[in-house]
Amino acid sequence: MGETTRAQGAVPPRGGAAEAAGRALAGAAPDGGAAVRPGTPADAVGGVRPAYVAAPADPAAAAAVLAVAAEHALTVVPRGNGTKIDWGGPPRDCDLVLETTSLTGIEHAVGDLVVRAGAGVPVADLQAALGSAGQRLAVDTVVPGSTVGGMVATGLSGPRRILHGPVRDLVIGMTVLRADGVAARSGGAVVKNVAGYDLGKLHTGAYGTLGVIVSVTFRLHPVPPALRLLRAAAPGPEALREWAAAVLHSPTAPSAVELDWPPEGDPELAVLLEGAAAGLDARGAAVAAVLPEPPHHADALPPGWGELPGAPGDTLLRVVAPPPEAVRAAAVLRDAGRARGILAAVRGSLGTGVLHAAVPADAPPEAVAAVVAAARAALAGAPGGAVTVPHAAPPVRAAGLDLWGEVPGAALMRAIKDRFDPGHRLSPGRLMEGI
């Protein structure tokens, strides 16, 4: 286990105490409701190897495991398929990895366009089930292999969010296990509902720091009958910015307006139109009309559509900027990289102003820090602008890069953390300083 500091209140299980905790975990859920095994190096979370890994079979078993963890003051990191387990900050400590992959189950209320899915359901399985009824969860596959819980906990949204919003907008209800193992539900099973606080919003993108998501209820949309993807390479960022603005201002109602800027070469604009087949020609023509050259057309999405740029393991920067500033911020970021010999790939939604940039995993940490700093400086005056580092390659992480930067409302977030998890035992340190 790496160097760890403990949050106030939690007492580390050592020696006899650790064994006692292990025994208690194994007995937490009756009838083998929760398989418990010792952690291996492969279970490491951001370089921190857990003492135990528990895989509860159902929410009740998961609750029992968490209750035992609370009793023994264990630090806990929830994990789905582990596709993003090394995202965020490294946990200050991790006694137990709680695996959600057995928390499955899909309840699809077809006529209500609503589905409830267990946290461990792979998003791809969910989409397949929904697709058979002509419906979909309007998110793209940003990280293949993600589970529902992982997707929600990291708040990852893809290109199509301009029409139906990011993931958080599709969540209408959620059941979460608190740090003390108590199950708490918020929201509901109907799309329209304003009863009580919408705590699901807090858990979306919280990296498991406030609780363990066990199931999520989503609103769904019908799968549109047809789609068309138009792509055009722009001679430079400024032209691309103008094109995107023109497309967004047109009444063509695109489902996605994406930037795809490979490490070398010109940025490309991709516009996704979805809807009645009969209307696609006219809409496509309207999009083409605002572009200087005829775009490339396709009637299907290319493989890898919506996925993050770069290769697995790359350091990933997330740039959130008012849409008109997004391309400029991307350009600044790339220029800052190039000046230091780093070629960054950028992809993301120009409609919403959320982009990801991939910096090769082997880039020198100081150079990465300089790139991040340049991007942050570029967005300093932009209302809501932020540059975070959802994933830092190990050397970058080790160099102590500030992954989050200045986060507005951080004091309120800490206050929430303190109430929900007074012992700071849930994924401590994965999200910002003090959380």
Binding site: R185, V190, G275, A276, P323, P324, T352, V407, I416
Partner: protein, 489 residues
């Protein structure tokens, strides 16, 4: 903890903050603020302040925090859950003088407004640029954006476009401690917990929104509105299901029953088809070709479901006329009944026919008329329970029917409120929908932001004083209710 003082003790300092004209102490003036749109909850506010800036709001709230005096935010006072019910021991902070539209940023497709700006004024400001603000509560010409934030208000067009929470990019809030915090900006998805999302719908219990950045949408290329008359509610309901099953996502599907039609007719002479048992308003918007294709499908589905008359709006004026009846329906019920209760509950769309039948039964059994106006697309019912308070016992029976309708909603897996919020009115119904643990967890959140409990206390979550018992432990009828000494609404 400071020893709480009476709000009157704050008056000189409040005057120093808001100026003499910004502090109301005259009882007659204060009394005009005694309730919001739900008048059967009323209380005389201790003091009323009318700040004009964020700095004033922050200073007022800080003063309240220092002195342990509760405060209640209020926008236009159109709320229907007594969320803005004042407190005699507190300060009512009214945003009606903070109504400037600070910026319309066409390129970033957003507008920055003060909280007192009326919802519709945002669209009015954006319209010349070809944009609009999507959430459109029926009260849109008057309700404030701040109030919309607090209630997470929705409207007819939320079926396709979502609620207030889906259209807010940035917030400036004054926390219950009096601190000014800016969240988000001209782009959503700020890092960390989604505080904006959690603040929206918090009914003024987490602080006061003092500046709001809302997303603007491009006006659709085509909008087509259809008015379909059906002989019965059942037939109308069948049409709704058929439309949804066909994979069409209209911008809005609204339904009104015969009684609601009668009221709207009396109020605004909307000339809906005579003798209809139900009318459906279906609006489609988007790219022209899509809308036309879907429109043909919807028209055919309505015919199949038994529509007796179909009318299509061909221009903005006709469209407005069709909507006028729907949008005025609530307030118009005053024309056909001396008093009424507007209920707001949600059921899964598929449960609509069943629940509507049960409501009709309830009405028949109790002799209390119920008019139905609702967002059929998302199962959001707005039964209007009509009664004459001059008739002895009628109010009580109406309240019973209204409560029974909520029970029906919960029983069918729905919600006790789809858009009007919990406020004081439904706080005691929260345990019907949420477990004690759910409620306790919500309270954790509230106390994280407002440890002193001074922000709109006793709203949203049940309290012993309000509901006669600790939150959530109600398993059957409360003894006081059983003995007839108290009533639950």
């Amino acid at each position: 903890m400071p020893v709480p003082v009476g709000p009157e003790a704050l008056v000189p300092r409040l005057r120093a903050i808001c100026g003499d004209a910004g502090v109301l102490t005259d009882p007659a003036q204060r009394r005009t603020y005694e309730s919001d749109g739900l008048t059967y909850h009323a209380e005389l506010p201790g003091v009323v302040v009318l700040p004009t800036s964020t700095a004033q709001v922050a200073a007022v709230v800080r003063l309240c925090a220092e002195e342990g005096v509760p405060f209640v935010p209020r926008g236009a006072g159109t709320g229907l859950s007594a969320g803005a019910l004042p407190r005699s021991d507190g300060v009512l902070v009214v945003t009606s003088r903070m109504r400037r539209i600070l910026e319309v940023d066409v390129e970033a497709r957003c507008a920055v407004v003060q909280p007192g700006v009326a919802n519709l004024d945002v669209t009015r400001a954006a319209a010349p640029h070809g944009y609009y603000y999507a959430p459109d509560p029926s009260s849109q010409q008057v309700c404030s954006v701040g109030g919309n934030i607090a209630e997470n208000s929705g409207g007819a067009h939320c079926l396709k476009y979502g609620f207030t929470v889906n259209h807010v990019l940035g917030l400036e809030i004054v926390t219950p401690a009096g601190d000014v915090v800016r969240l988000g900006g001209k782009v959503a998805e700020a890092p960390g917990y989604d505080l904006i999302g959690a603040f929206i719908g918090s009914e003024g219990t987490l602080g006061i929104a003092t500046e709001i950045t809302v997303r603007l949408l491009r006006a659709p290329e085509r909008v087509r509105t259809l008015l379909a008359a059906f002989p019965t509610m059942d037939a109308g309901g069948r049409a709704v299901s058929a439309v949804i099953a066909a994979g069409v996502l209209p911008a809005a599907i609204e339904m009104m029953d015969a009684l609601a039609i009668e009221a709207a007719e009396a109020a605004v002479a909307c000339h809906y088809p005579k003798g209809a048992g139900a009318v459906l308003i279906v609006e489609l918007d988007g790219p022209a070709a899509d809308v036309d294709a879907q429109f043909a499908a919807v028209t055919a589905l309505c015919r199949e479901a038994g529509a007796t008359e179909l009318r299509t709006a061909t221009d903005a004026a006709e469209r407005a006329r069709i909507w006028k009846g729907r949008k005025s329906a609530f307030a118009a019920v005053g024309r056909i009944s001396p008093s009424y209760i507007v209920q707001d509950g949600v059921v899964p769309r598929t449960a609509l026919p069943e629940v509507l039948r049960r409501i009709a039964d309830l009405s028949a059994e109790s002799g209390i008329r119920v008019a139905n106006v609702f967002h059929a697309g998302d199962g959001n019912l707005h039964p209007l329970v009509l009664f004459d308070d001059a008739e002895p016992g009628a109010a009580e029976r109406a309240a019973e029917v209204s409560g029974a309708i909520l029970d029906l909603c919960v029983e069918h897996g729905g919600s006790i409120t789809g858009e009007h919020g919990v406020g004081v009115d439904k706080a005691c119904h929260m345990p019907d929908m949420f477990s004690p643990a759910d409620l306790a967890t919500m309270d954790l959140f509230r106390r994280a932001i407002d440890p002193a409990g001074i922000a709109n206390p006793e709203k949203l979550l049940p309290t012993p004083r309000l509901c006669g018992e600790p939150p959530g432990v109600r398993t059957d009828v409360h003894p006081l209710v059983a003995s007839g000494e108290a009533e639950l609404f």
